[in-house]
C-alpha cells in the first residue's frame, strides 16, 4: 500500500524529470572563452597523499619531492614564483623603493643580502647561497616547509659558513622525505612559524607579536588562533589565491572601509574588517555606538592587542652590535642573563651579534599610520647626526583621512654605518672566506666585503650609530574582556599621550578655559560665601536696631 502513492507520484512527475535531465545533465561543457568561475575557500582533504604512487619515493633531495608535487599540481610552481616568499623582492608601487629581504637593511642581523647561505634557510626554496641561484627553476621551490605535517621537516644552511659554525646542525636526524611528502596538508601555524616566529634570529626576536607561543596559544593570548577559540591557521586571515596570500608589511591596509566580502569576494586582504565589518561592535548600546565611531580613526589592533610579546616569550627591544666580537681564549661565546615568562633562558650576549635587551608584555608605541612605510635602503643618503636613524618610518596623519592610530613595536639598535659616505651598510656575516664576520670578528673587513660584492661604495670608515625600526602590531589579539578600556587613552599621560593631530577628551584641555572656569567657580563659591556670611554677621550685630526680619525673597 505504501508503494502505490510513490509510484503514482513518480509517474506524474516523470515527464518533468526527463525534460530537466535533458537540459541540465550531464553538465554542459564550458564554452572555451568563459571566464573562470569563482569558488569558495578551499579546505583541503579531498586527496590522501599517502595513496599517490608518485610520492612513494624514495627521495634523495628536496627538489625531487618538488618535481613529484608539480607532476600533479602543474600550475602551482608558476603561481608560487610570484609569491614574495619566493622572490624576496617587492617594489613599492607608491615610492618605487626596491624592498624585500633581497635588498633591505634591517636592525637585527642587518642584511640578508650576501648572507643568503645562512639567511635563505627561510627562503621557500632550495639552495640560494649566492647570486647564481636560479629563480626560474620550479624544482627549487620548497613545498614541504609549508606543507609538512609530520613536524620532522627541517632545513639547514645553504652554504657551510665558517668552520666554527658546523656545530649548529650536528646530530640532526635524517629526513624521511617520502613519509613527509605523503603526509602533506594545508599549512598550519607551526609551518609558517618555522620562519615567522623566529625572525631576527630567535623566537619572537623580530616582530614581538609572532612567537612560538602561537603554535598552541591559550585564548588569553590569541582568540583566533587558540584551540579554545577559532583555532585559525595563519591562512584563515591571510587568505590565498593562486598561492599568493593576503596581508603584507610592505603594503599595509591601515584603514579598510570595504568591510566583509560576500561569498566569492575579497581574497586579497587580511584586515580585521574583512571579517568583522566596518562597524564591528554590536550597536545595541551607547558604548558600542561610540566604539564603532572609533573604527574610523583607531585601528582594531590598538585596543584589542593591549600588549605584545605576551605568552611567556620575550622579544628583543634593544640590540647593541658595539659589544660584538669579544672572545674568550680566541673563541666566541654567549651569555644567558634573561629568564622569560615561560621559564626559558635567553641570550643577553653573543660574540657574533652583540648584546640584547628583552621585553615582555610590552606596551606598544602608537601613531597615525596610513599603511605607507618609507625605508632607508642601502643607497639612501642619511643624516648621521640625526639619530636614531630610521630603518623604516611609518607615514600618516589625522588630516589625510586614510590614517588610523596603530600600535607598533619600536626596535632600537646600535649597528654599523658608513661614517664617511653617510649610508647604511651590507655586512658580510656568513661565508667560508676569511672576510666573514662570523669567523673573523672583524667588522671593518666584513663591511668592506659586504659592500664590494654588490659594487657599492664604502668609505672605509664605519661607526656604530643608533637606528630605529617600527613593526606594526597585528597578532596576539586578546579576548574582548582584555581589550583596552576607554580611559586607558582618554586620560593625561595615557596610552596615546604622544599622538598628535586630534583633540582627545580626557587627555586634552585648554588651560586658559580651565583656569577661567575654575576662577569663575571658586569666585562664585567665595562670593556667595562672603555674601551669605556678610549679611548674617551684619544683621546679627545690628539686631535690635531693626525688627523687620521677615524679609522674603524669591530666589
Amino acid at each position: 500500500m505504501r508503494v502505490l502513492p510513490g509510484a503514482l507520484l513518480a509517474v506524474t512527475l516523470m515527464p518533468l524529470t526527463v525534460t530537466q535531465a535533458r537540459s541540465n545533465w550531464p553538465t554542459p561543457p564550458i564554452a572555451g572563452d568563459a571566464a573562470t568561475q569563482v569558488s569558495g575557500p578551499l579546505t583541503g582533504g579531498s586527496a590522501d597523499h599517502s595513496k599517490f604512487a608518485a610520492l612513494k619515493g624514495p627521495f634523495a633531495t628536496g627538489p625531487e619531492v618538488t618535481k613529484a608535487c608539480l607532476g600533479c599540481h602543474t600550475e602551482s610552481g608558476r603561481h608560487f614564483m610570484k609569491n614574495i616568499h619566493w622572490t624576496w623582492d617587492f617594489t613599492d608601487p607608491e615610492t618605487g623603493q626596491r624592498l624585500g629581504k633581497k635588498h633591505l637593511i634591517n636592525n637585527f642581523c642587518t642584511n640578508a643580502r650576501g648572507n643568503e647561505g645562512m639567511c635563505a634557510q627561510c627562503h621557500a626554496g632550495y639552495g640560494w647561497k649566492d647570486e647564481t641561484f636560479d629563480f626560474t627553476n620550479q624544482d627549487n621551490i620548497d613545498c614541504l616547509v609549508c606543507h609538512d605535517h609530520t613536524g620532522t621537516y627541517y632545513k639547514t644552511t645553504n652554504s657551510n659558513g665558517d668552520k666554527s659554525c658546523a656545530v649548529m646542525f650536528e646530530g640532526l636526524p635524517a629526513l624521511d622525505l617520502a613519509q613527509i611528502a605523503q603526509s602533506v596538508q594545508l599549512p598550519e601555524r607551526a609551518n609558517c612559524g618555522t620562519c615567522h616566529f623566529n625572525g631576527g634570529g630567535g623566537d619572537n626576536v623580530k616582530h614581538g607579536d609572532l612567537s612560538s607561543a602561537l603554535k598552541d596559544p591559550p585564548r588569553s593570548l590569541d582568540v583566533h588562533m587558540s584551540s579554545d577559540g577559532q583555532n585559525f591557521a595563519c591562512t584563515a586571515c591571510h587568505v590565498t589565491k593562486n598561492h599568493v596570500w593576503a596581508g603584507s608589511r610592505y603594503a599595509v591596509i591601515a584603514k579598510d572601509t570595504a568591510g566583509p566580502g560576500r561569498p566569492g569576494q575579497r581574497r586579497d586582504v587580511a584586515t580585521c574588517e574583512s571579517c568583522h565589518g566596518a562597524a564591528p561592535h554590536p550597536a545595541a548600546s551607547v558604548r558600542h555606538l561610540k566604539l564603532n565611531d572609533h573604527v574610523a580613526s583607531v585601528a582594531c589592533q590598538t585596543c584589542h592587542i593591549p600588549r605584545f610579546a605576551r605568552g611567556g616569550i620575550a622579544t628583543v627591544m634593544d640590540w647593541d652590535w658595539r659589544t660584538a666580537g669579544q672572545t674568550k681564549d680566541g673563541e666566541g661565546y654567549h651569555e644567558h642573563g634573561y629568564t622569560q615568562g615561560n621559564g626559558e633562558e635567553r641570550y643577553t650576549y653573543k660574540s657574533i651579534k652583540g648584546s640584547f635587551t628583552y621585553g615582555e608584555n610590552v606596551i606598544p608605541d602608537y601613531g597615525w599610520f596610513n599603511g605607507q612605510m618609507r625605508y632607508t635602503t642601502i643607497d639612501t643618503q642619511v643624516d648621521l647626526s640625526d639619530q636614531p636613524i630610521p630603518i623604516n618610518s611609518y607615514l600618516g596623519a589625522r588630516a589625510d583621512g586614510r590614517s588610523r592610530i596603530w600600535p607598533f613595536k619600536r626596535m632600537l639598535t646600535w649597528q654599523p654605518v658608513d661614517a664617511g659616505n653617510g649610508t647604511l651598510v651590507y655586512t658580510h656575516l656568513w661565508g667560508e672566506d676569511t672576510d666573514a664576520y662570523w669567523g673573523n670578528y672583524d667588522m671593518g673587513k666584513a663591511i668592506a666585503r659586504g659592500m664590494q660584492d654588490f659594487g657599492l661604495a664604502y668609505s672605509g670608515h664605519f661607526d656604530f650609530l643608533q637606528t630605529v625600526s617600527y613593526w606594526p602590531i597585528t597578532h596576539m589579539v586578546a579576548p574582548k574582556e582584555d581589550a583596552l578600556a576607554c580611559g586607558d587613552c582618554h586620560m593625561e599621560n595615557g596610552r596615546l599621550s604622544t599622538v598628535t593631530g586630534v583633540y582627545l577628551p580626557g587627555r586634552d584641555r585648554n588651560r586658559w578655559v580651565d583656569l577661567a572656569g575654575l576662577i569663575l567657580i571658586f569666585g562664585t563659591l567665595g562670593g556667595t560665601l562672603a555674601h551669605g556670611l556678610g549679611h548674617r554677621v551684619i544683621r546679627f550685630k545690628n539686631r535690635g536696631n531693626t525688627h523687620d526680619h521677615a524679609g522674603k525673597n524669591h530666589s
Binding site: 551607547v286 565611531d293 576607554c486 593625561e492 586630534v502 585648554n510 525673597n553
Partner: protein, 217 residues
C-alpha cells in the same frame, strides 16, 4: 491686597524642574569626569551616562518649550526693568541692613525681575550653547572625516567646556539664593507642593475661589 497660598507651579513644571535638576547635575558630574576633573567613574561609564542624560534632557527641553508656548507661561520669563534696580539694590545693600525683599510674587508674575533676566539668559544663551556644541560634539563621527575637522573638534570642545563652567556657576548661585531669608527648606517647598505665598488682588482672589478653587488654599 491679601497674601494667600496659591498653586503657582503645576505638576508639569515641578516634574520639569526636578528632572532637569537631576539631569544637569548628572551631566555636570559626568562631563567633568570626561574632562578629567573627577575620577568617580570610568571614562566609558561617564560617556554613556553623559550621552543618555543629554538625550533625556533634550527631550525634556522640547516638551518644556512646547509647554511654555502653548500655555502662555513663556511670559513669566519676559525681561522687565521695572523693579530690577530695587532687587539688585536689595542683594547688594539692603540685605546687609536687614531690609525686606522688595519683590512680592504676583499671580501673573512668579519670578522677580532679576530672576527673570537670569533664567532668560540661561535659556537663550547658556543652554543653546551647551546643547548645540554638545550635539555637534556627539556627531563628530559624521563630520570627523571632513578636511580640517580635528581643530574644529577642539573649538567645539572648548565652547562646551566653558559653557559647562558657566552653568555650574549658575547652579551655585541658584542654590545659594535658596539660603537667603527663610530656611532652605522653606524656599524649596513650593517647588515640591506647587503652592507659594502670592499677593492677590481681591479680584484675583475672588476669581480663584470661584473658578479655580483647587489652586488656592
Amino acid at each position: 491686597m491679601i497674601i494667600r497660598q496659591v498653586l503657582i507651579y503645576t505638576v508639569f513644571e515641578r516634574f520639569w524642574h526636578w528632572t532637569q535638576m537631576t539631569l544637569i547635575v548628572t551631566m555636570l558630574v559626568t562631563g567633568f569626569a570626561i574632562h578629567g576633573l573627577n575620577h568617580w567613574m570610568s571614562f566609558d561609564e561617564a560617556v554613556t551616562l553623559h550621552t543618555l542624560s543629554a538625550l533625556a534632557l533634550l527631550t525634556l527641553w522640547v516638551l518644556a518649550t512646547f509647554w511654555l508656548f502653548t500655555t502662555g507661561n513663556w511670559k513669566h520669563y519676559l525681561p522687565t526693568a521695572s523693579g530690577l534696580g530695587q532687587v539688585v539694590r536689595f542683594y547688594s545693600y539692603g540685605i546687609f541692613k536687614g531690609e525686606r525683599h522688595p519683590y512680592r510674587k504676583a499671580y501673573w508674575r512668579k519670578h522677580n525681575p532679576l530672576q527673570a533676566i537670569a533664567y532668560l539668559a540661561l535659556k537663550i544663551v547658556l543652554f543653546p550653547l551647551i546643547w548645540a556644541s554638545g550635539i555637534i560634539y556627539l556627531l563628530y563621527s559624521v563630520w570627523g572625516d571632513m578636511a580640517g575637522a580635528a581643530p574644529w573638534l577642539e573649538r567645539v570642545a572648548l565652547i562646551h567646556t566653558a559653557t559647562a563652567y558657566a552653568i555650574l556657576a549658575f547652579v551655585i548661585i541658584h542654590v545659594y539664593m535658596l539660603t537667603i531669608g527663610h530656611s532652605f527648606l522653606h524656599h524649596v517647598a513650593p517647588m515640591v507642593s506647587g503652592f507659594d505665598e502670592v499677593e492677590l488682588s481681591p479680584e484675583e482672589e475672588a476669581y480663584l475661589i470661584t473658578d479655580e478653587p483647587h489652586r488656592i488654599r
